[in-house]
Symmetry: C2
Subunit: 210 residues, 2 copies
């Protein structure tokens, strides 16, 4: 009936198990990971995983929410920065995400699979449902730009374009790298180029005749 033990005391082992879980869950997904895989990866006994985290699912939920936080980290600050223009925000966002994805290239697939498996858990888990989109600075700025340009296309197109151009190449990377015979370093160099290119492309898209 006891709750999980003090976290502070033994950050090392608990953190090692979480690190192992992060590696295995991220690589193989929830269903394909065996609790034993995590035990082996961590170097600890199988029972330790349950001693610290009660169950595979609870451990997974923790990893999932941490990944989600990595994914969403600091973007609210960017979206709500009153001191940058819309275009600057795009530059910062794209740059931020490409840097992050080079460090964590498996994140998008993990998160999309998590959404797919249980949309509500993930969406309410992070409190994304509490955000009032109307209040965000970037939305207001977008409306100004859209009005000035008399844009006839749905704003969600632009958002999808930004996200697609930034994230998808990382999801497709195994296939892309196989077909193009690019090394990881060469691939990452291309992704870094995209930090400058995507904002330019978005601008071009916004100005394109429709």
């Amino acid at each position: 009936m006891s709750e999980k033990p003090d976290i502070e005391k033994n950050e090392s082992t608990e953190e090692k198990i979480k690190e192992a879980a992060r590696i295995v869950f991220t690589r193989k997904g929830y269903a394909a990971t065996r609790t034993r895989d995590i035990a082996e990866e961590s170097g600890y006994n199988l029972a330790l995983i349950n001693y610290y985290f009660r169950s595979k699912e609870k451990l997974y939920d923790i990893i999932m929410l941490e990944h989600l936080q990595t994914f969403l980290h600091s973007i609210m600050d960017i979206l709500n920065d009153a001191d940058t223009t819309l275009y600057q925000k795009i530059e910062v966002l794209v740059g931020h995400y490409i840097d992050m994805l080079i460090k964590n290239p498996a994140l998008p697939l993990f998160i999309i699979n998590a959404v797919n498996a249980d949309p509500d858990k993930l969406i309410t888990g992070i409190g994304a449902d509490k955000i009032h989109q109307e209040d965000l600075v970037i939305i207001k700025q977008w409306k100004e730009v859209a009005a000035a340009k008399k844009l006839a296309i749905h704003p969600v197109h632009i958002l999808m374009n930004m996200v697609s151009l930034t994230i998808f190449p990382f999801m497709g990377s195994p296939l892309i790298r196989n077909r193009t015979k690019l090394s990881i370093e060469e691939f990452n160099a291309l992704m870094l180029e995209r930090k400058k290119l995507i904002p330019i492309w978005i601008k071009a898209i916004l100005n394109a005749e429709v």
Copy 2:
């Protein structure tokens, strides 16, 4: 030691099992599907699945290759059509894929997960390793356009952009639809808009000052 029984005679049951497998594998992925799920979905006994397909993995391989063929169906003809310009090819490709993805929105995630789990199986499975990219009409046309425009960016960027803009919105659809409160019909209408928009955007990207 016997091979699988005659297919012709009982297309109905075998095809029903495959159809059930398609549904369950596509929705839940390989690891999360139980052979019993497929049995239940098909309405037949568990042993039938093994009677017809020997094992869960063999059945999965069949479904995977069929999905891959759906995904790649007829694109070689498009890529090699000497009677269309590069820009026309882009229009045809994007249109083709968006139509296909509206019918099979779960395909991209399934295929990307399959590549992730075992890249070689899938890539050699379809014979993609035998294609000589240099020989494709679209590649020659691309080189002409790139030379004329004196493009300094790596051609794979353009390819990634096309694929990203077309496919990613379908993978992100559960999240996009949740956040935007769009119905499936509204979402699909947006995707149909993209059949015209993406080629225009690609053109704008090609002409963008870098």
